[in-house]
């Protein structure tokens, strides 16, 4: 089974600071890591391989230094890393990113499952996974929290919903975006780290994957950022105290007055 895992390099946002004048992140000294949600995608890709056999290829789009996360994915069990790097890819929004990744997956060909994290910790859109599936014209299931069964033709998964989960069966090839409930990512072993260190990362540009540069990067991105700002801290809260039954009545009355309920 050929498994493709799409991953993204993001800033470690544990201690992120914001420049209040420009509204942008202070990037100096911040380390780049694998998008935390993609850690689950890598782990699940490797678990599918361990379950039914096959090969795991990780793909990322980014500058040359993004190869670090591909090595990390190999240390965690992936077989291969592919870096999509081209100046024409930079400034991409979710549409252009989906296009570029789908072009690369089509170029690599012969895939059965594409696994993505449910969203990235920076953009938080959750659009790229489903976007890739649409462009590849294959079915997708988002927020997968468990793979019940898998064979070479079909897959049965549990999709996390607010009020429980859906049990979904799909034909292959399929794209899954996975929720963090799905697994607990492994710690990379020393021997895998050595393999990762020596691995050759394949670097592909727009021409190599046959991508139309009008559809990649800034050119292919209809999204325009008008303004970036730090939201004002909300003030003016009200506090109700006293007997629980009286507080409840007071809160309801207040909400009615504000036409909120």
């Amino acid at each position: 089974m050929n498994i493709i895992v799409c991953i993204k390099q993001v800033l470690n946002t544990m201690n992120v600071q914001i420049d209040h004048e420009t509204g942008r992140l202070k990037r100096d000294g911040l380390e780049s890591i694998i998008n935390p949600f993609d850690e689950y995608a890598i782990e699940e890709g490797v678990r599918i391989k361990e379950r039914v056999g096959g090969r795991v290829t990780t793909i990322t789009m980014g500058p040359p230094q993004a190869e670090v996360i591909l090595r990390e994915a190999i240390a965690k069990g992936a077989d291969e890393g592919v870096l999509l790097s081209d100046r024409a890819f930079s400034g991409a929004d979710t549409l252009a990113t989906s296009y570029t990744l789908s072009a690369a997956i089509r170029f690599l060909g012969n895939f059965d499952i594409v696994v993505c994290g449910k969203q990235a910790s920076d953009g938080d859109t959750a659009q790229v996974g489903p976007g890739i599936a649409e462009m590849l014209d294959i079915p997708h299931v988002a927020y997968v929290k468990k793979i019940e069964s898998i064979n070479d033709k079909t897959i049965k998964v549990e999709r996390a919903m607010e009020d429980g989960y859906d049990l979904i069966e799909s034909s292959l090839p399929v794209l899954l975006t996975v929720a963090k409930e799905i697994n607990s990512p492994r710690v990379a072993s020393l021997k895998r780290k050595m393999i990762a260190k020596k691995a050759i990362i394949k670097v592909l540009d727009a021409a190599a994957i046959g991508a139309d540069v009008k559809k990649t990067g800034l050119n292919g991105s209809p999204t325009q950022v008008m303004k970036i700002f730090v939201p004002q801290q909300r003030t003016g809260r009200e506090k109700f105290t006293g007997e629980p039954s009286k507080i409840a009545a007071a809160v309801v009355k207040r909400l009615l007055d504000l036409s909120l309920i």
Partner: protein, 389 residues
């Protein structure tokens, strides 16, 4: 921030892996294992999966081939979080070293790969109730009977006893020859006549099992003998030369963990309107602790590097110095960490009382601090005699 010891990329890799396991896997369960005194199998599996079990075993036997320095770095890093759970790995190294040092190619191929992969743990069986620092006082015997040796006797205080699969056990093959009458055997769990006795209830390192090994007409095939008859004590001494830095690393890890806790607490704890770290009395205590820890690390790393370089035949003095200094520093630093945390330090709500309990063993096993001093002094005498000859 640790001083720069020019660690290689692979050494840094081992430290980073051990740190991840320690923080992600060990930290959430350390109180549980201390309280329940259970053997930490779930963590042993993590050590195995991440290849930490074989860092000191050569690559041809399935290890990572990074010598005593590799073992020291991993044990130190794990012990910063918990000085007891890491013993499953560190005491296995002690049990495996006799095979590594004195084993035949067949013995190494048979036993080391399973130890390197973490599939099996090992243990070292030297101590007896009436033979501690003086191993020649042991009562366990191995009598030759055809192609077998028949073992009788009881070993005590054996770390990993009962949980390990592979044991290196010392027994007298010739009582008349004293130190030259002891031999070392590889004994496997499950062999007829090999049982386990009581599990010790201890002050610290409670997540580590300590049991008696009882031999009652245990027949061991002759190919389980390490090297030759009579070489046992020499194997034990060569083992301790290499294993004592492992105890030193355990001590150093515990000390470092306690120092970090003390600094964190002193910054946060406010008394008389200011954090207690602003008091010079606390500052000077922390400064002494930090300096001792760093000096201990420098001595330990230098000893480990010297052992791995293999340029001198015996490193008894250096490993004794590293163990003596690191373990005494650990006791001092953990005691002072409890002091800085005050009543909270004495409470089980904070980890420093456990660190103090765990630290104490490092001044005792694999030779007490006093035995280390004997070893150091003996070598000073030998060196002086050699110079004046």
């Amino acid at each position: 921030m640790v001083m720069d010891y020019m660690l290689s990329e692979e050494e840094k890799m081992m430290v980073e892996t051990a740190r991840t396991i320690a923080i992600e896997k060990m930290k959430p369960v350390r109180e549980y294992y201390d309280e329940k005194e259970e053997f930490p199998w779930e963590i042993v599996k993590e050590f195995a999966k991440s290849d930490l079990c074989g860092v000191y075993i050569p690559e041809e036997y399935g290890g990572f081939g990074k010598g005593i320095m590799g073992l020291v770095l991993v044990v130190e890093e794990l012990c910063k979080v918990d000085g007891a759970i890491a013993l499953a790995l560190a005491a296995t190294a002690l049990g495996a070293l006799p095979i590594l040092i004195a084993g035949s190619e067949e013995q190494k191929k048979k036993y080391l790969p399973d130890i390197a992969s973490g599939k099996k743990l090992a243990a070292f069986g030297l101590t007896e109730a009436n033979a501690g620092s003086d191993a020649t006082g042991m009562a366990t015997t191995a009598v030759k009977d055809g192609d077998y040796y028949v073992l009788n006797g009881t070993k005590c205080f054996i770390t990993n006893g009962g949980d390990a699969e592979t044991y290196t056990v010392f027994a007298k093959t010739n009582s008349a020859r004293g130190a030259r009458g002891i031999s070392c055997f590889i004994v496997e769990k499950g062999m007829s006549g090999f049982e386990f006795g009581k599990k010790e209830k201890k002050m610290g390192i409670k997540a580590s099992s300590t049991r008696e090994l009882i031999f009652n007409n245990c027949r061991v095939y002759k190919d389980q003998l390490l090297n030759k008859e009579g070489y046992g004590l020499m194997i034990a001494q060569a083992t301790l030369d290499r294993s004592r830095p492992g105890v030193a690393a355990q001590a150093l890890g515990i000390a470092t963990g306690a120092l970090d806790e003390a600094v964190d607490y002193a910054r946060k704890r406010v008394q008389s309107g200011q954090s207690i770290i602003s008091f010079q009395g606390i500052q000077h205590m922390l400064a002494d602790m930090a300096t001792e820890v760093e000096a201990a690390r420098a001595l330990l790393y230098a000893s480990a590097r010297m052992i791995d370089a293999g340029t001198v035949k015996r490193t008894s003095k250096e490993s004794a110095m590293a163990k003596l200094f690191c373990s005494e520093v650990a006791m001092n630093v953990t005691t002072n960490a409890v002091q800085i945390l005050g009543g909270y330090g004495y409470s089980r709500e904070y980890p420093v009382e456990k660190m103090m309990r765990d630290a104490k063993i490092t001044t005792l096993y694999e030779g007490t601090s006093q035995i280390q001093k004997n070893e150091i002094a003996l070598n000073l005498i030998k060196e002086s005699v050699a110079k004046t000859k």
